[in-house]
């Protein structure tokens, strides 16, 4: 009798697990289709608005893409005009160089990485949401991600998709207390973007809360130290190629970036002042990044009210805060769009009308900015 109960429980559990994986696979394909749909819509929109740009004009030349492709092809340089490319983190170019072995083109490899990463990110995000929410909220969370305002960057040769995937995987493994996997994923995230190292904070939060509550410390949780180790490896690269652990800071402070670390208030004030004097640019860069900052911070309070897991709020707060510690920021909107935990907070909203309105605004802006990006406007 007891054995049959155990068998029944195991069978049910197996069924649930395979159901969850089936769901994740469906989400993976849905995510890729959503990106293809956005691509077609944006390209058609661009053509209908009279632009004659071709794909070869659009993808390899956008923003920082040439720099990533250069690093993938030639790696970092210790001298010369390309020495300043050390400001870009290495994991994305490494992936591009690896995929290039199969696809024979750097730009195509980079775009394939973006599509695949977005699919995997969505699948892990689905699994993450399913840990706390019902089907409907999970679906809304995914829809929020698919309609991300600057979602066009999830199909371009930027780091956003890869980073999104690593964040989703990292948070999922942290929740599952699979510390080794969380450490490895976090290590890669810390080598992908500045914000990657911040995955350490939700891990530390979960570990500390458990340690204090249960008065136990799990040695395996020390694997999470791999996350800051990833950042240390990046600093080491700076030392090897630039002679200083913080060479990237020096390069960022001069042309063409002119960007230094400043308190949030200064960065926002500069954005506002520049936005006022540059009307067109303000629509693409400054207003979105100011508005999205306040929405993101308000979301932290909303998340606390809606009982979103606190470790997610820790990540959101650290991500938003660290992102805006810049004197002259141009990509705030893009960065906020890649903050995965904001979509968890969105999913937690109870009022469906509010959720639908937010989704509608997001989707309209997503397509609009995608078309503008294809046109070659200053969407960075």
């Amino acid at each position: 009798m007891e054995n049959s109960a155990v068998q029944k429980f195991s069978a049910e559990r197996l069924k649930n697990i395979s159901g969850e994986n089936k769901g994740a696979i469906k989400v993976f394909f849905a995510a890729i289709i959503s990106r293809l749909f956005l691509f077609v819509l944006a390209f058609a929109g661009m053509r209908l608005l009279g632009s004659a740009r071709t794909l070869a004009d659009i993808f390899p030349t956008a923003g920082d893409v040439p720099h990533y492709l250069y690093i993938a092809e030639h790696w970092y340089a210790s001298s010369g005009e390309k020495a300043n490319l050390i400001v870009f983190y290495p994991f994305f170019p490494i992936c591009v160089a690896f995929f290039r072995l199969f696809f024979r083109s750097y730009i195509i490899s980079a775009i394939i990485i973006s599509y695949l990463s977005f699919g995997i990110a969505a699948a892990y995000f689905y699994k993450l949401l399913k840990l706390d929410y019902d089907d409907e909220k999970t679906a809304y969370g995914l829809a929020g991600l698919f309609a991300a305002v600057f979602g066009i960057f999830f199909i371009s040769a930027h780091t956003e998709s890869l980073f999104l995937m690593l964040t989703a995987m990292g948070l999922y493994y942290i929740r599952k207390k699979n510390w080794l996997a969380a450490g490895i994923v976090g290590f890669c995230a810390a080598l992908t973007k500045t914000q990657g190292v911040l995955l350490f904070l939700p891990a530390v939060y979960e570990i500390l809360v458990d340690a204090i509550k249960e008065k136990k410390f799990y040695k395996k949780s020390l694997f999470t130290l791999l996350v800051p180790l990833g950042f240390l490896c990046y600093l080491l690269l700076n030392y090897i190629y630039g002679g200083s652990f913080f060479k990237f800071v020096e390069y960022q402070a001069v042309a063409p970036w002119y960007n230094t670390s400043k308190w949030i208030a200064d960065g926002l004030a500069t954005s506002y002042a520049t936005g006022i004097s540059h009307f067109t640019l303000s629509m693409f860069i400054y207003w979105p990044q100011i508005i999205m900052y306040f929405i993101a911070v308000a979301a932290i309070f909303l998340g606390a009210k809606n009982k979103v897991r606190t470790s997610y709020l820790v990540f959101t707060g650290a991500y938003v805060g660290a992102t805006y510690l810049q004197s002259w920021m141009l990509s705030g909107g893009r960065y906020i769009s890649s903050c995965l935990t904001l979509y968890v907070i969105y999913a937690s909203i109870e009022n469906k009308l509010v959720k639908n309105i937010i989704l509608l605004i997001e989707a309209v802006l997503c397509v609009a900015y995608a078309v503008l990006w294809m046109q070659g406007q200053a969407i960075m």
Partner: protein, 269 residues
Amino acid sequence: MGQFIGHMGGFFILAAAVMIVGMFFWESGIVKDKGSVAVAGKAAASAAAMGMVYYFFMAYLRNIFGGQTNFFDFGKIFTFFGLDKLLNLYQTPSFKESVSGLNMPLFIYALHFIGGLVFKQYAGTALFLNFLAAAGGAVCIGRIALELWGESASSRAVFAVLALPFAFALFTPGCFGIVFGLAACAAYALYKKKTVLYVILTIAAILTSKLGLLALLFLIPAKMSGVSEFVRKLPGLKAVKNPYIRIGTLLLVLAINGFVIMLTMGGAI
């Protein structure tokens, strides 16, 4: 407008950070009693709200008395009580000046270090830390009053302290808020019979400002039962049935405070 947006942005993210730290204490079980958490939250929120009112009133008055300036130009707003000199000291500390007047070196050097870490935002950091310390002090006073006289007396005690004339000084980038916070924590430690903690906090308060010596006053044995009975019998504003008297009293307290702030900002004090 840009400065306003920027500083609001900075303030809100710091407020979110403080909230998350609070949630950590709650979730990890370090703080367990829901009722006392609510009282502490109320006291901290009251302090923050009063502080914001004082701050904007001071910034507004500076525009009247000192010519047009933006609401976050700390150097121009805080020119009273020697705060302008203190703001300079945070940037370039000198030991000789850090022990002159009411000053003591601990907070000055600590702020020089912390302000340097947060992108040389010395005045802003000092202001925020004073807000935080004043809120912490309000929580301690609320806790003592709660345990001595009950919940309604706790709110009254917090409000009474925050509405005292010159209470606005707690919300300036000097070290009044810090000393207040440390002294209130010392009082709470003494009340809880944690003598070592009381000694440490009192020393910290004295090393922050000579006003910290006031924390030694807590050692004078108070006739707590007599005080307790007196405070318990004091009617709260809510107990006054006539709304005119109730609102009038509140207005009177705030008007006196506003008058003191005006005299200070106008240079009469």
